[in-house]
């Protein structure tokens, strides 16, 4: 079996020159080939080439039919009915039908699955006939079809025959190293951390837009090595390109830089609930950040355009709310806090801190693009108005435990809504933390607003788009007025490709081979 794979690889390598072979490098190797085991961008982005969901996102992030040809609400918001595409087969030849949908639901919603939270609104999934499935929801759920775009269909027969009926992240199983989807590419070789090879699936139901005959992913952790690999032509595409190398790449005719903005908004968070600051030399027993005027002063004190100009080399866009304009439910016409150090000083004086105060700023140093440099710049800007931050930057695996233990006076956070909808950050960042209801699990500062909490279930269950948007707008305005967070900017997305490659960049940072053409 192993030998035959090696032979296949060798045979493929020896194909004639007109074969369009594509090689690309990413920083992170997808840690599993199981589409339900891990909910992370490297895994879901890669597996979107191999597996497919009932719906999928197009080049502009819009929802379009995939394994379902159509869907419609049932009754007055009782759920959604999906009509499945006929004549679809998995890579191993098995036919796709309603039983696979039921199986994939049970698998992806099981205890062991990382994707379980996607199905929190689902009460029951019912097979109506071989090509019709009903999803009954506990409450009306207008965004349900869009929220399952990354829920991928697995063949029940294949999974059960190979002992992979449930994902097993801790110990792994057959589906960790093998894949059998319906997608445009099938997995031919999987060597974790080394190479993963895909080949076009001849029996794909959709018309292929790409012209590839083989695609190989190699993880390259060191950015300098990845850049050298791109420049020397050893790889055709790298993600990401270090910001500081963008200008150099743009000057090179053999490669091009593809820039866009990611779905991720970078923001500052506050300890809303804390009784006192933890890392202050001059303020004892009180928490100035509990005062909205102090938080507003922070927002006025930070010159976001200057940060973007210097640290991001002009590659990012300022943000004034928790989601980027590319997301559904974005609030139009919201005014951000302009850079105005005088206003910041006045607000601090009004709040009773004319001389400012000292505090601790926590920041990751390997999670977001140039995160530590951004925090250093913020520290300098805050000092201008008397807010004397002591910066403590650390690797991300140390960072989250610190935040969970409430060890911060201010912190940096990035948020990318998995559903591409403005409701997502409200649920995770703005709702009052509540373990039982699974709300506010990333609301480290414990921000709490009864009106926001009351609006959230309404937003989740309102079908009427206008009424829903009005509520999203109200929440966005409330969060901005109270400065629950200080949104800074939308993180840039910088890809580097050889100049003979055409591809599509999506704000979710998914790289899809079905849109790649090689000259």
């Amino acid at each position: 079996m192993r030998r035959s794979i090696a032979a296949l690889v060798l045979a493929t390598a020896a194909l004639p020159l007109e074969a369009e072979e594509f090689t690309w490098a990413e920083t992170t190797d997808p840690q599993t080939m199981d589409p339900h085991a891990v909910n992370s961008t490297p895994v879901l982005g890669f597996l979107n080439n191999v597996y497919e969901g009932l719906v999928r996102r197009g080049k502009d992030m819009g929802i379009e039919p995939a394994l379902a040809t159509s869907w419609e609400p049932i009754g007055e918001g009782e759920g959604w009915r999906f009509t499945l595409r006929e004549g679809v087969s998995f890579h191993d030849g098995a036919a796709f039908d309603a039983d696979d949908v039921i199986f994939s639901y049970e698998r992806a919603a099981s205890e062991a699955a990382d994707t379980r939270s996607w199905f929190a609104p689902v009460a029951e999934v019912v097979k109506v006939d071989d090509h019709t499935v009903d999803f009954l929801t506990t409450a009306p759920n207008p965004i349900f079809p869009g929220s399952i775009a990354n829920w991928m269909m697995m063949d029940s027969g294949w999974a059960e025959a190979n002992g992979a009926a449930r994902p097993d992240k801790e110990n792994g199983n057959f589906a960790t190293l093998n894949a059998n989807g319906t997608g445009a590419f099938k997995l031919t070789t999987r060597e974790p951390g080394l190479r993963t090879v895909l080949e076009p699936f001849a029996g794909w139901w959709d018309e292929a837009e790409h012209n590839l005959t083989r695609a190989e992913l190699t993880p390259i952790q060191n950015p300098a090595t990845a850049l050298a690999a791109l420049l020397s032509g050893d790889v055709d595409f790298i993600n990401p390109v270090p910001i500081q190398d963008v200008a150099r790449l743009q000057a090179n005719p053999d490669v091009k830089v593809i820039q866009g903005i990611e779905a991720r908004v970078i923001m500052l968070g506050f300890p809303h609930e804390a009784e006192a600051l933890q890392y202050s030399a001059d303020v004892e027993g009180e928490n100035p950040f509990a005062d909205a005027r102090v938080r507003r002063a922070v927002a006025h004190a930070i010159n976001v355009p200057a940060i973007l100009q210097t640290i991001m080399r002009g590659n990012a866009e300022p943000a004034n709310q928790l989601v980027s304009p590319a997301m559904d439910g974005f609030t139009e016409g919201l005014e951000g806090y302009a850079y105005d150090p005088d206003a910041a000083r006045a607000l601090l004086a009004e709040a009773g801190y004319p001389e400012g105060f000292g505090f601790g700023l926590k920041c990751p140093n390997d999670r977001y693009l140039n995160d530590e440099a951004v925090c250093q710049a913020i520290t300098g800007m805050l000092a201008q108005v008397g807010l004397r931050a002591t910066l403590d930057a650390m690797p991300v695996q140390n960072y989250w435990p610190e935040l969970r233990a409430d060890n911060f006076d201010m912190y940096l956070l990035g948020w990318s809504p998995g559903t591409f909808d403005a409701e997502h950050p409200i649920r995770f960042l703005a709702a009052t933390p509540n373990d039982e209801k699974k709300l506010g699990s990333w609301n480290f500062g414990g921000y709490s607003n009864a009106r926001v909490d009351a609006l959230l279930p309404e937003i989740q269950s309102t079908i009427d788009a206008g009424a829903r948007q009005a509520m999203l707008d109200e929440v966005a305005r409330t969060l901005a007025d109270e400065v629950a967070y200080v949104p800074l900017y939308v993180q840039p997305l910088v890809w580097g490709v050889r100049s003979n490659v055409e591809l599509t960049q999506r704000p979710d940072n998914f790289f899809l081979l079905r849109w790649v053409t090689l000259d």
Binding site: A13, E170, L194, Q221, A228, S232, Q397, N398, F428, K438
Partner: protein, 327 residues
């Protein structure tokens, strides 16, 4: 004699145990793997459940005990990141590191001895001085910089050699993969093995040179020359042979460090060996992989030292008498 060996083995085991204990006490500072393992939409409840499941809520001594319990049965646990047995992953990656280390070691020995002899014999020649001056680069430049420079020159600018990876490999037997049998595999070996072997080569070269200079001053060399023996025979048979004792000792000890320090070279060249595996494990806080790697490296070093100790006893009778006399 046997008592000496048993005592040495006992001491080695103790050292291993202490290394493991120190390693486990450090893991908590590397960070928390839970957030890497669960996605964005995890709940606090999920975090606690997984922490309990992995035994991370236990004191490190308990974690260490559990690791040892598995390790003595040959079970090094399951990688947090890959969800596969650590032993499988290490076996998969070991050939890459061992082949790279072997080629680097051979290059370092061949060029180190050759250049060392050359610079000793022609100690005032221009070529020898140039070599000595350039060898300073080998000792003083950090490995990753040498690697990046080589990549930039030979891959990006000249386009002669691949910039990363191991090329095509061929499977031999059950688990060994080799890059020696394909053209791309051999080409991929050139830059990393130079990068990895450069420091050792310089070290050996300088050692051989100074030992040679020392030996060449000896009376028996002068007498040999006076007897009219050919210069090549004097240099290689009489002089070089007598410099070998310290050189061989150093080479033996350096063997371990070539494998251990392959970490940096492997990172720069994305060489899929155990060093790169270890670096990835640190980033993900993949404790089972980190623990197994550290234990493997310490077993190797302790093993080499044990072997050297025992060999000394065989080579040098005085040590043998001392050790048994001391009892």
């Amino acid at each position: 004699m046997l008592a000496f060996i048993i005592r040495r083995v006992g001491q080695s085991l103790l050292v291993l145990m202490i290394v493991g204990l120190v390693a486990f006490s450090m893991f908590r500072f590397v960070g928390d793997p839970i957030d890497n393992m669960l996605g964005q939409e995890r709940t606090i409840e999920d975090v606690e459940r997984l922490r309990g499941q992995l035994g991370l809520d236990q004191p490190f001594v308990v974690q260490y005990y559990r690791f040892l319990e598995g390790a003595v049965q040959g079970n090094f646990g399951v990688s947090y990141r890959q969800g596969r047995p650590v032993a499988d992953i290490i076996f998969e990656r070991a050939p890459a590191t061992l082949e790279l280390a072997a080629v680097s070691g051979i290059l370092a020995v061949l060029f180190g001895i050759g250049l060392g002899v050359f610079t000793a014999i022609r100690r005032d020649g221009i070529a020898a001085n140039v070599i000595m001056a350039t060898s300073l680069i080998g000792v003083s430049l950090p490995t990753f910089l040498i690697g990046i420079l080589l990549i930039y020159l030979f891959s990006v600018e000249l386009g002669w050699l691949p910039s990363f990876g191991r090329g095509e490999t061929v499977r031999l037997g059950g688990w060994w993969t080799t890059g020696f049998l394909t053209e791309s595999g051999l080409r991929a070996l050139i830059l990393p093995s130079i990068t990895l072997g450069l420091y050792q080569m310089t070290l050996i070269m300088r050692l051989v040179r100074s030992e040679m200079l020392e030996v060449l001053r000896q009376d028996y060399i002068r007498f040999a020359r006076a007897r009219g023996i050919r210069e090549r025979v004097v240099n290689f048979r009489h002089a070089l042979k007598n410099t070998m004792v310290p050189v061989v000792t150093v080479i033996g000890l350096q063997l371990g460090s070539i494998i251990a320090f392959a970490i940096i070279t492997e990172t720069v060249f994305q060489w899929p060996g155990v060093g790169l595996l270890f670096i990835n494990a640190i980033q993900f806080v993949d404790i089972p992989v980190m623990a197994a790697y550290l234990m493997l490296i310490s077993v190797m070093f302790v093993g080499i030292n044990l072997l050297v100790d025992i060999l000394y006893v065989f080579i040098d009778p005085r040590l043998r008498i001392d050790s048994s006399g001391g009892k």
